[in-house]
Amino acid sequence: MKAPPFAYVRARSLGEVFDLLEHHGESARLLAGGQSLLASLNMRLAAPELLIDITHIAELSGIEVRGRKIRIGALATHAEIQRSAEIARHLPLLSQAAPHIAHVAIRNVGTFGGSLAHADPAAEWPACCVVLDAQFVLRSRAGTRRVAAREFFQGLYATALRPNEILAQVEVAATGTNWRSAFVELSRRRGDYATVGVAALARKSARGVLSDLRVAFLGVGPAPALARASMAALEGKRVSADTIAAAGEALGQDLEPSADLHAAASTKLHLARVITGRALTALAA
């Protein structure tokens, strides 16, 4: 189908975006890569009167390393992150997750900020940001506020973004050399949204002991959340068949999967345990 009619404006600055949002309120939508928004307009799931194209605002783009802090602009595309040597060096979890997002032609256009603002429960970036303890920089006419990823995702497609706000950038601390990360996902076809996926990060000692473990799932709940019981079961332990089994057991407390188009709830819990084993094995390797 075709999208319903709307007006279009190419914003040149954040100030212009704020003016437009103030003036048009809820009838306006921000347009970044359009890889979710235009698809939903084509299916007539939304009918905004105005699209505000934000892709020409320079200060929202780019990936920048300042000391231990990495700043990822909202407009960085999935492909840019996948290709970035800086990301591979400082935030390998993102490099591991990127190839799972959609397909090449969509990764070339879809943006980091668009994916986070859209907050699909099966999307890769939200779970990664929760695990990395990322800070989201939200800007509006009223000023700038920083919200931790763990508070940003509030439910199914629901975030802490207020109507007049824009997600400008994400700040993440580089994961040090003694940290290990893993990203494992199951989907029916490469590039499809995940049936279930997991992002994992831990500090690993020379003796192979894991600490500061952080594990979050995608595709199993309305929003990504830390799997705290499993994390506790693993803290200070070495990866072995026993610890993998204990972490899997604890997932029963962490996850309450709901069935979707792909799988029944019980299948999802089973698959979550399978990929947890794979992720832990990868962390230990």
Binding site: D19, L38, N42, L50, D53, A105, I106, N108
Partner: protein
């Protein structure tokens, strides 16, 4: 003090796009997709519309050298950019080897998916000459074919990669 100026809204903006090397200027409705602009206004019907929500890849075209979904980009977003389609890339000869391999390997039946498939395959051939069979599958995962069962398509791309490796 902040200047409060009216920012002009466009229902039918004028755009200038370099399509297959030719500069084209047109007024288009804001909601017009790039793929419909190419097909309906410029008569470039080689790229197809299938699902119109990003899933099938029939509408794959190149914008500024990178493959994109023509159904998930507005024509107005292509303003000031370079767009290449199956027509231009066939005429330039860039797709010649792949086209011949597709023909030889029977990698098309109805041909509906073929233009998009060729653009996605060429993206791989140009950027990833050492791709394995599974990497070929992965790169083409965003392009549906309802006829061939894919094996012949992967064979064709594999042939081109192998021939190139031999000749270098």
């Amino acid at each position: 003090m902040r200047r409060k100026k009216e920012i002009p809204l466009e229902h039918a903006p004028e755009i200038t796009v370099t399509v297959n090397g030719t500069i084209v200027t047109r007024r288009v409705p804001a909601r017009r997709h790039l793929i419909d602009f190419l097909r309906e206004e410029l008569g470039l019907t080689g790229s197809h519309t299938g699902c119109e929500h990003g899933v099938c890849g029939a509408c794959t075209v190149r914008v500024d050298g990178r493959i994109v979904r023509g159904c998930l980009m507005l024509a107005v977003q292509a303003d000031g950019r370079r767009v290449d389609t199956i027509e231009g890339l066939s005429d330039s000869g860039e797709l010649g080897e792949l086209q011949e391999a597709f023909h030889r390997r029977n990698a098309l039946q109805c041909g509906f998916c073929t233009p998009g498939m060729l653009l996605a395959a060429q993206d791989l051939v140009a950027g990833h000459p050492d791709a394995s069979r599974s990497e070929i599958r992965e790169h083409l995962s965003g392009n549906y074919c309802r006829c061939t069962g894919y094996q012949a398509i992967v064979d064709a791309v594999e042939d081109v990669l192998a021939a190139r490796r031999k000749s270098t």
